[in-house]
Amino acid sequence: MSDSVSVAIHGVSKVFGHDRNAVTALDDVSLDIREGEFFTLLGPSGCGKTTLLRLIAGFEHPTRGHIDLHGEEISHLPPYRRPVNTVFQSYALFPHMTVAENIGFGLEMQGKSKEETTSTVGEMLRLVQMEDLADRRTDQISGGQQQRVALARALAPRPRVLLLDEPLSALDYKLRKGMQIELKRLQNETGITFIFVTHDQEEALTMSDRLAVMSQGKVLQVGAPREIYAHPAVRFVADFIGDTNFLDAELLEIERDRTELKLPSGKPVSARGAARSVDGKVHIAVRPEQTTLTRDADAAHLEGHIDNVVYSGTDTHYHITLPGGESFVVRTQNRGDSGDEWQAGQTAGIVIEPGAVQILAD
């Protein structure tokens, strides 16, 4: 993976409709997507991720701002002039063509020779393991196979960037897992920049080199999956990705790269990074799996009343109410020797692991 920028999005806004009916789908979005990376746009439906993808593909044009591909502005080029291909959510395979004809369509439109088209189509069929079904009609193959054909069709013209619009959402769980691995393999083999749209946070974390979390037309945070999960910048990101406990805390001391905080229980705790606050109060997030239960009152950061114990195979979840009325979840991994040590109705101390406290910007 090189560090050169593939797709650069500069202050792009997209407004649909006019005047009173105007809907802002994207609000001043800026992003740099690097060459050869697997980049994911993650967010709930209606957050603008698909609109952004359609702007890069050329099906829509930005209201403000511009999009560059390898340093050249492409915002106003029609889709057929952009070296960018799309794998559609519904696959959008041509029903009047065979599998091979579908895959060869883009090459034919590019004016490639018959021999070159045939050989590339063969190569693509091998790449997605569909050689046996080349002459089938697209309605005679399964959903997973259609998915592969859609991928092969979009990869055949060797685009600079491949756009994938929730391509796995129509597949069942097992097939989806398989295709996730398949997609990563294809991306490694081809070295093409993938821009992947999904609302599935787990999928985004597993597959991406980097991801952008979006909400209400804005990009909230961009980073590697580990970075986003461990250090969510704002409440929405912390809440949308994984499970999180939210607490209020008071500022004690701010240093250059660490902040000392006072928890509602009165106990001190330190967090990474310098916090900013106007009234001396901040919101913090703590992941449930980075906490444990203890009987040792001195070691405990918080104390609460266990309402519920939920056993889920690999983990056990303890639903706890803190003295201030806030709910808090502690998740511990089950080991061979762990019994039912804690029961509902008991009072327990909560230990927060070092580095587990994340200060939120909002």
Binding site: H96, F105, M109, R153, A154
Partner: protein
């Protein structure tokens, strides 16, 4: 156990299916009665008449004769009984085929963009546009045809406008020409092209159009390679719906062709009216029917073959 219940299910399903089939036949009885009484019955009468002898003052005499069919293609000299090809009939057949073909092509050229326009409107306004397409059906065909006459006659709107604008100094003879017939037929049958093409177009998944653009196809390429193949059933239905009635058109060529430019419909009418040759009229009608049926059969066989090639 599981097998057993599955077998039971399929037995019940088969019984339910048979009940459905019975009910469907029952529901179609009125349609079947109308078809037999109003379509097949009269056709059989016509078929019988075409093999009878012409009565002196119209009607038929109940004696077997192939004279009607003979006269469809051949003419017998009144003086010396020499047989020659019926040139008059052949030129009428040719005009009918040519004008119907041109009408179909023109209607397609006008109807396809119209259907595309309607199909790409927001769902809420599509019904209004479709409604507007059907408005001409509210007025009698004859009156609409006379209206066209007013537009294209020598002192009509078009010629008057062109002359006052100084484009031409003498009126262009449009009325009573083949052009007038074609114009009239295109006008009358255009909705029959728009509606089926629209019906296909409305079902078109426009994401396929986007996929085409995405894969480097320009607008023209997308039209030819994606849109037209996918709405082909509608185009074919529209062409059949325009071509067949054009071939048998009667009112339009009668009014706009001025009785000089006959089409098959007028020729048939002539045999039952002034010509007093019912067997010939009946034979011509059956002949027209056969031509249309053979053409349709050929088309159906062809399209099945094309499907099989893709299907394997």
């Amino acid at each position: 156990m599981a097998d057993n219940s599955q077998r039971n299910d399929s037995v019940f399903e088969a019984a339910a299916h048979r009940a459905r089939v019975r009910r469907n036949w029952l529901l179609s009885t009125p349609a079947l009665i109308i078809l037999v009484l109003a379509a097949s019955g009269p056709l059989l009468v016509m078929l019988a008449y075409s093999f009878l002898q012409a009565g002196d003052y119209g009607g038929v005499e109940y004696r077997f004769s192939t004279e009607g069919w003979f006269q469809v293609f051949l003419a017998r000299d009144i003086f010396d009984d020499t047989v020659s090809v019926a040139d008059a009939h052949l030129s009428i057949f040719w005009r009918s085929a040519r004008l119907s073909f041109l009408t179909t092509v023109t209607a397609l050229a006008l109807g396809f963009p119209t259907a595309y326009f309607i199909a790409t409107r927001p769902r809420s306004s599509r019904n209004l546009w479709l409604f507007l397409v059907t408005v001409p059906f509210w007025t009698n065909l004859l009156i609409r045809t006379f209206a066209i006459m007013e537009v294209i006659k020598n002192q009509g709107i078009v010629n008057t406008l062109l002359m006052s604008a100084g484009v031409i100094s003498e009126p262009i003879q449009m009325l009573y020409t083949d052009f007038a017939i074609m114009l009239g037929m295109t006008y009358v049958y255009l909705p029959l092209m728009i509606l089926p093409v629209y019906a296909s177009m409305e079902k078109l998944d426009f994401r396929l159009v986007e996929a085409g653009y995405d894969l480097y196809a320009t607008r023209i390429k997308v039209l030819w390679r994606v849109i037209i193949p996918l709405v082909k059933p509608g185009i074919v239905a529209g062409c059949i719906l325009v071509f067949i009635p054009s071939l048998g058109a009667y009112v339009t060529p009668r009014v706009l062709g001025g009785g000089r430019n006959l089409m098959i419909g007028n020729l048939i009418e002539l045999q039952f009216g002034q010509g007093s040759n019912w067997p010939l009229g009946a034979a011509l009608s059956i002949f027209l029917l056969l031509v249309v049926m053979v053409a349709l059969l050929l088309y159906v066989r062809n399209s099945q073959k094309a499907n099989n090639i893709v299907r394997h």
